[in-house]
């Protein structure tokens, strides 16, 4: 049975763990709000870009672009966006599970798996054909860093080395909730029925400067880069959210453990005092007798 001294030591350790988890929770909360802000700032650009592409491509006949071209190549890339650090609940394990499930489901394609963040890589590397792992100067990649990753993959795709490019990431829903998702980013799929609808809704044509083809040549790669960047930002927000709620429950557990350990320690100390008192009283009584 633990002594009072042991319990004191345990309480002290738990208190210092509590301090760490509380600090980590606060740091994650600050990072989460920054990441959410980044998502909010990116969305209007991505949405506007998307709607412009749909409008222009609906009004232009027979447009061809390397990034839109369906191809029969059986080789494909899966870019997995996970975290470099743990202590974020089931963030990485759920994504790893999703990746395994997806790879088993898409058996007819030969996947090469690229990684951003090392945690999921550690979990799945034995089961997959491993590609490159991208590293950034900071944990949060800048738009230019994300653009470099996207461009590298699109160059491989355009060269015909891969027939499809997917991104696996956790979609941020709330601080408590995220959804592991796999999204096809290349080739870009333009919804034909939506385009027809749009064509009938816009009775006029735009003037283009230069030609619509040249405009689409700029917009389509840009939209693809923006999609990849949005996925990375979503994954980052989900990571911070998940770490925040994991640290919150860890802090709660620490507090409960400290409370029960303190009660146990007090009981033990009281027992010691009572035993000591009984000994003194019985010693005094035996002298009087």
């Amino acid at each position: 049975m633990a002594s009072v001294k042991d319990l004191k030591k345990k309480i002290k350790t738990t208190k210092s763990t509590l301090k760490i988890t509380t600090a980590m929770k606060l740091v994650s909360a600050a990072k989460l709000s920054k990441a959410q802000q980044a998502i909010v700032s990116t969305r209007p650009y991505a949405e506007e870009l998307d709607s412009t592409i749909r409008t222009v491509s609906a009004l232009v006949q027979n447009y061809q672009n390397n990034l839109l071209k369906e191809n029969e190549n059986k080789h494909a890339v899966l870019l997995v966006v996970s975290s470099d650090r743990g202590l974020c609940g089931s963030y990485n394990s759920q994504l790893a599970k999703k990746v395994r499930f997806f790879l088993a489901e898409m058996k007819d394609l030969d996947f090469k798996v690229y990684f951003i963040g090392k945690k999921v890589r550690e979990l799945v590397k034995k089961d997959v054909s491993e590609g490159k792992t991208y590293k950034f100067a900071k944990t949060e990649p800048s738009y230019l860093e994300s653009k470099a990753v996207a461009d590298e993959l699109s160059t491989l795709f355009a060269a015909g080395e891969f027939g499809k490019v997917f991104v696996a990431y956790n979609v941020f829903k709330s601080a408590m909730n995220f959804i592991p998702t796999i999204k096809q980013v290349l080739p870009i799929a333009l919804d034909k029925t939506f385009q027809e609808k749009l064509k009938s809704e816009i009775p006029f044509d735009f003037k283009y400067d230069p030609s619509p083809k040249e405009i689409l040549d700029v917009l389509i790669p840009e939209s693809y880069r923006s999609t990849v960047y949005t996925c990375i930002l979503d994954a980052l927000a989900a990571e911070h959210g998940s770490r925040m709620s994991a640290m919150d429950s860890a802090s709660k557990n620490c507090k409960t453990a400290i409370r029960s350990l303190t009660i146990e320690m007090n009981k033990l100390r009281q027992e010691d005092i009572t035993t000591a008192l009984i000994e003194v009283v019985s010693g005094a009584e035996s002298l009087n007798a």
Binding site: A38, P44, E48, F206, K207, D209
Partner: protein
């Protein structure tokens, strides 16, 4: 009277949404165009240059540095999608001068690949533009 509502968007931040404007000067790849009320619907490719949004009456004029992108005019709504953009007051002349010196130094070395050459030439273009905008802003502030 203000006629247009202008959005200036970049991939990583929103510089302005629904900015009221009477007219605009937009740097397209074929030169600067002036957009006035009743302008035709247009989608134009942008070049590195200064975007000026002229507000009517009490609304201030706003100036932005723009580095490539697209301008879409659809009725009274104008959207500027630019890769990199800064508003006049955010531009630091000192930083732009440092960037210019750095890019110039790189261009002077003889070991650049064609891609690097284009990269640093563009950096110089952008730095010149920023310095010009920052100087104009400083001059306008001194006047007031």
């Amino acid at each position: 009277m203000n006629y247009f509502m202008v959005d200036v968007l970049t991939p990583y931040r929103v510089l302005g949404r629904n900015i009221p404007a009477e007219s605009l000067f937009v740097p397209t790849i074929r030169g600067e165009i002036n957009i006035l009320p009743e302008h035709t619907h247009i989608i134009a490719k942008l070049d590195t240059g200064m975007l000026s949004i002229m507000g009517a009456e009490d609304d201030p004029d706003r100036h932005f540095s723009i580095t490539t992108g697209i301008c879409k005019v659809l009725g009274k709504k104008i959207t500027i999608l630019s890769n990199v953009s800064e508003e006049q007051h955010e531009i630091s002349q000192e930083r732009a001068e440092r960037a210019l010196a750095f890019a110039q130094e790189k261009l002077d070395t003889m070991t650049l690949t064609p891609d690097e050459f284009v990269k640093y030439t563009r950096k110089i273009e952008r730095a010149h533009l920023r310095i010009q905008i920052a100087k104009e802003f400083a001059a306008a502030n001194n006047k007031h």
